[in-house]
């Protein structure tokens, strides 16, 4: 296990806050400017950065992130270039913040699972989220990640039956990513009413921190979730803010959500 992720959650908790995992798309609008977005999010209070690596066919993503993927691919943001050009710059500017990669399994397979694990760890990545890799398919890759200390962060969905959710949580690395809505990424006005009991169930079973993500865009939502989880993941809202108004808008939104996460 990487350890950096656990430390980041613990630090936030010690300050009396839920952790903010902030997502942006590497290479949107281009490689250097996406570094500015990541740095701005940390200035705004992000505790962990989730670095999106674009895939041509992102079936788990809604329109905001789909469009960001298209822009990133046009800018040439391959996994290799993100690891070689974006990650080191982000590391330099945010040396304290754990970095997590989010992409699809085909992108990692193309580089090679073991080669990716080694390279990502070398470049300072702590964990990886692969939204199209359920536990049944992840045994091999997780062994490769474990071997170098890269956390394969599992997802848990609202449709996941309780026993399966507990099994996913018990076996988790890094943190458990609880998908808050049955759907793709994107902002939602309302979150499901039974989300809190679902989070409590996962929390009881999990040896690592748990977060909720998908649909979260306001301080209010963050506050509601923060009562039942160790943190929140915010993606589409930040991608949209950065795309419309640049890094400062992403910084501001992070700060606002952090206010919601104060306990």
């Amino acid at each position: 296990m990487s350890g950096e992720i656990a430390a980041a959650f613990a630090k936030a908790k010690a300050r009396g806050e839920g952790a903010l995992v902030a997502y942006a798309m590497a290479g949107d609008p281009d490689l250097p400017r996406s570094v500015d977005v990541f740095a701005a999010m940390v200035e705004g209070g992000a505790d962990i950065l989730e670095i999106g690596v674009a895939f041509s066919d992102p079936i788990a993503d809604g329109p905001v992130i789909q469009e960001a993927s298209e822009r990133a691919l046009k800018a040439g943001a391959s996994l290799k270039r993100v690891l070689n050009e974006v990650v080191p710059e982000v590391r330099k500017r945010c040396p304290e913040t754990p970095l997590v990669v989010m992409t699809y399994i085909n992108v990692v397979m193309a580089l090679g699972e073991e080669k990716y694990a080694k390279l990502a760890r070398e470049k300072g990545i702590s964990g990886t989220i692969l939204p199209d890799l359920p536990p049944e398919e992840s045994v091999g890759i997780r062994a490769a990640f474990d071997a170098v200390g890269l956390d394969l962060i599992p997802l848990c969905a609202p449709t996941t039956p309780p026993a399966r959710a507990e099994a996913i949580a018990r076996d988790a690395r890094g943190f458990v990513y609880c998908v808050s809505v049955a759907g793709v990424t994107g902002m939602r006005a309302e979150l499901p009413v039974d989300l809190s009991s679902r989070l409590e169930l996962v929390k009881r079973a999990s040896p690592v921190p748990i977060t909720a993500g998908f649909g979260i865009s306001t301080a209010e939502q963050a506050r509601a979730i923060g009562a039942h989880a160790d943190g929140v993941v915010v993606g589409s809202a930040l991608v949209r803010a950065a795309h419309a108004d640049g890094p400062a808008a992403a910084r501001q939104l992070c700060a606002e959500i952090k206010r919601g996460l104060k306990r």
Binding site: D57, I105, M109, D132, T160
Partner: protein
């Protein structure tokens, strides 16, 4: 029945699997279980068979193609006439089965993706027959190319949702259908149209399409007293191919041949030849051979026929090709067009552009086999849907021989 070889279900050697968001996994497990129960229930089998007979018009004939046989000067050519199935293509075999399965599972609505529109029409038809609401995702480019089928779907009461993303073809329609399914998975069944997608779809679609090959077995025994020497089918996602070929996998004397879209040519990057030029990867929930760049980004496929315009292929076909059981060839857009006219004029059958790819490689295969042998060509669908595309190019003078 099945050839899943590894210990893991849903695997065909290294191919197959279930690479989907966790949200969908419980639904796929439920589908797998419901399908196993349905398959074990004789009443379900009887119901499917009855609808196929009364409504679809099965069995479809195995027709001798006398003039093609003479023209090609090799094996005796037989046509398996899926073009005569209701709605005009093999796709209906699968949609009847899947919609009946969805009803059994208590699902309230149906979604589907479509390329050429044949699967969309077949799904809309099954939904109309059984009274279920139906939504079909279709690439905006295909909506344009296949206007007739768009009208048919709408006339049947389905909602057609044009997809403006990516290459605006089948791959993007499938992405969008999957995204929709993720948000409506509780009460919606997604009818995948080819033998692709996450487990258990490749198995379910293959089983429902295997009726084609099973009929060929009995018909060839009755018509020429033995099994065919070779069977050839076009390959997009691969449902008509696996359907006609699967029942013959164990008969080593029967050559199994697939034909992929060569598009503008294999060296142009504008083709749909994933079995020929694809590399191992994951697309739309299964591990198979896909057209992708060195960074794992899926490449856009091209074919004159919307149904073959797909950068992936079903995992079972990938396995059959990798293990050498199945031969794979390609035909270009131009070759398919030429075959379209040849078949129309010599057999009185306007084949679908997809099917025309199989015909385009039929002549050389017939000659390779030689006289006294029997070649079955799977006539996966009829060409009515393609006449606008084909007519827009004008009939080449080389074909008309100056007659008009």
């Amino acid at each position: 029945m099945s050839i899943e070889t590894s210990a893991t279900v849903g695997r065909f050697g290294p191919f197959g699997g279930r690479y989907v968001p966790e949200t969908l996994v419980p639904a796929l497990l439920e589908l797998e279980e419901a399908y196993a129960a349905a398959r074990a229930d004789p009443a379900f089998g009887k119901q499917v068979t009855q609808v196929l007979k009364e409504f679809v018009g099965r069995e479809t004939p195995l027709t001798p193609a006398h003039r093609l046989t003479a023209a090609w000067g090799g094996a005796q050519v037989w046509l398996k006439r899926e073009d005569l199935a209701h709605t005009g293509a093999h796709k209906i075999n699968n949609t009847i089965g899947q919609v009946l399965l969805a009803l059994r599972m208590g699902k309230k609505r149906i979604i589907a993706e479509t390329g050429a529109g044949q699967h969309g029409v077949a799904t809309a038809t099954a939904c109309a027959l059984f009274g279920l609401p139906c939504e079909v995702y279709m690439g905006a480019l295909d909506v344009e190319r296949q206007a007739l089928n768009v009208f048919r779907m709408r006339a049947l009461g389905a909602t057609v949702r044009p997809v403006e993303l990516g290459s605006k073809t089948l791959k993007d329609a499938m992405n969008e259908a999957m995204r929709t399914w993720v948000s409506q998975v509780q009460d919606t069944h997604y009818v995948i149209g080819s033998a692709a997608g996450p487990h258990p779809y490749p198995t379910i679609v293959r089983d429902f399409q295997a009726i084609i090959g099973q009929e060929v077995r009995t018909q060839s025994q009755a018509l020429f007293g033995r099994l065919p020497d070779a069977i050839i089918a076009c390959v997009g996602g691969g449902s008509n191919a696996i359907g006609v070929l699967h029942p013959f996998i164990g008969d080593k004397q029967v050559r199994l041949v697939g034909v992929e879209a060569g598009g503008h040519g294999l060296n142009t990057q504008q083709h749909g030849a994933s079995l020929t030029l694809g590399t191992e990867g994951v697309l739309h929930g299964s591990r198979s051979l896909v057209l992708q760049d060195e960074n794992g980004q899926i490449q856009e496929a091209h074919s004159i026929s919307a149904g073959l315009d797909y950068p992936g292929v079903g995992p079972e076909l990938a396995f059959l090709v990798k293990t050498g059981r199945m031969e794979i060839r390609t035909a270009t857009d131009d070759e398919a067009l030429q075959a379209f006219y040849e078949v129309s004029r010599s057999e009185g059958i306007l084949p679908a552009l997809e099917t025309s790819h199989a015909f385009a490689r039929g002549a050389e295969l017939a000659r390779e086999l030689g006289k006294g042998k029997h070649l079955v060509i799977n006539c996966s669908g009829r060409g009515d849907k393609d006449v606008a595309t084909i007519a827009a190019r004008g009939i080449p003078a080389a074909i008309t021989g100056n007659k008009s």
